[in-house]
């Protein structure tokens, strides 16, 4: 693990992983999308809207997964000053925010035919909305300082504070939701048919591999930025 703290060595490893991840990702999409859209059965209650689930649920999972990576990366950055961990944490934030937004938007598209309204203060959707703002706060804080290192550290602390808060927020929102509207229909309440599992797992795999590809790319961009900054410093001094 400490060998990977060296960005140059990490990039070498990344260069070997990346094509495989990209290839597998494309493969997952190639199989997953047709099955999700065409060959999987429609739900007996929800009809074809259930196909939105193959985007919605993997996106929700990725939104949480990216926050987990962000918190773990931030912790190892603060504790061991692991520079690559910090770069991975920083790279995960926009990806996680994108997936969280995707989860929210597809949730609205699913809600319209099912609930008759695009937005219901459903416990899960509400938690995802808060998660989205946690991402925005992290990204905004990281970029708000003149010294990039200060921004990195402040954002890392915020990620940890957020990860402590996230279960509390989830618990609060669940309680609040049960108080105000006993959920008649929950999005997760559909009985998942065995035939729905292959496309679901394929899409989760595809999103997960997409994450690997983009995160490695983004870490490369950050290493380059650091090198540019160093090169500029060398020139001016």
């Amino acid at each position: 693990m400490h060998a990977l703290a060296n960005p140059t060595r990490f990039l070498k490893l990344a260069a070997t992983i990346q094509p495989w991840a990209a290839g597998l990702c494309i493969l997952c999409f190639l199989f997953g999308l047709p099955i999700a859209l065409l060959f999987s059965p429609p739900d007996y209650q929800q009809g074809d809207t259930v196909r939105i689930m193959y985007i919605h649920v993997p996106a929700a999972w990725m939104g949480l997964f990216c926050y987990g990576v962000m918190a773990a990366g931030s912790a190892s950055y603060l504790i061991w000053r692991h520079p690559v961990a910090n770069m991975i944490a920083k790279s995960s934030a926009p990806i996680g925010a994108m997936f969280t937004a995707l989860c929210l938007l597809t949730g609205m598209l699913w809600g319209q035919p099912m609930w008759g309204t695009p937005w219901v203060w459903d416990a899960r959707l509400t938690s995802m909305l808060v998660l989205f703002f946690l991402y925005l706060g992290y990204i905004a804080l990281g970029g708000a300082f003149d010294s990039p290192e200060q921004g990195d550290k402040a954002a890392a602390i915020l990620a940890l504070v957020g990860s402590v808060n996230l279960p509390i927020i989830k618990f609060s929102v669940d309680w609040w939701n049960s108080l105000h509207q006993p959920s008649i229909f929950s999005m997760a309440g559909i009985s998942v048919d065995a035939a729905m599992l292959p496309p679901l797992f394929l899409m989760v795999g595809a999103f997960q591999l997409y994450y690997v590809v983009v995160v490695l790319m983004s870490v490369r961009a950050q290493v380059l930025t650091a090198k540019i900054r160093a090169a500029k410093l060398m020139r001016t001094t």
Partner: protein
């Protein structure tokens, strides 16, 4: 076999299912392109900084970039 109309129609829910997938394509695509472009631009910037020796320093700027990676 599945007919094309049925696929497009999505059991009457075409207006919800297709936009969901379109959003996914746009979201993933845009983020991918932005990231790829930033890598390309940073690489170009770094190459530009390393190549010309017009800077006031006499030392090799190639070395500067090389040590920078481990120094961060």
């Amino acid at each position: 076999m599945i007919s094309l109309e049925a696929v497009i129609d999505m059991g009457g829910y075409a207006a919800f299912v297709w936009p969901a997938y379109a959003l996914a394509v746009v979201g993933l695509g845009v983020l991918f392109i932005l990231t790829a472009r930033s890598v390309k631009m940073q690489q170009a910037e770094l190459d530009r900084l390393r190549l010309p020796r017009s800077g006031p320093t006499s030392g090799s700027s190639g070395q500067a970039g090389g040590t920078a990676g481990s120094g961060t």
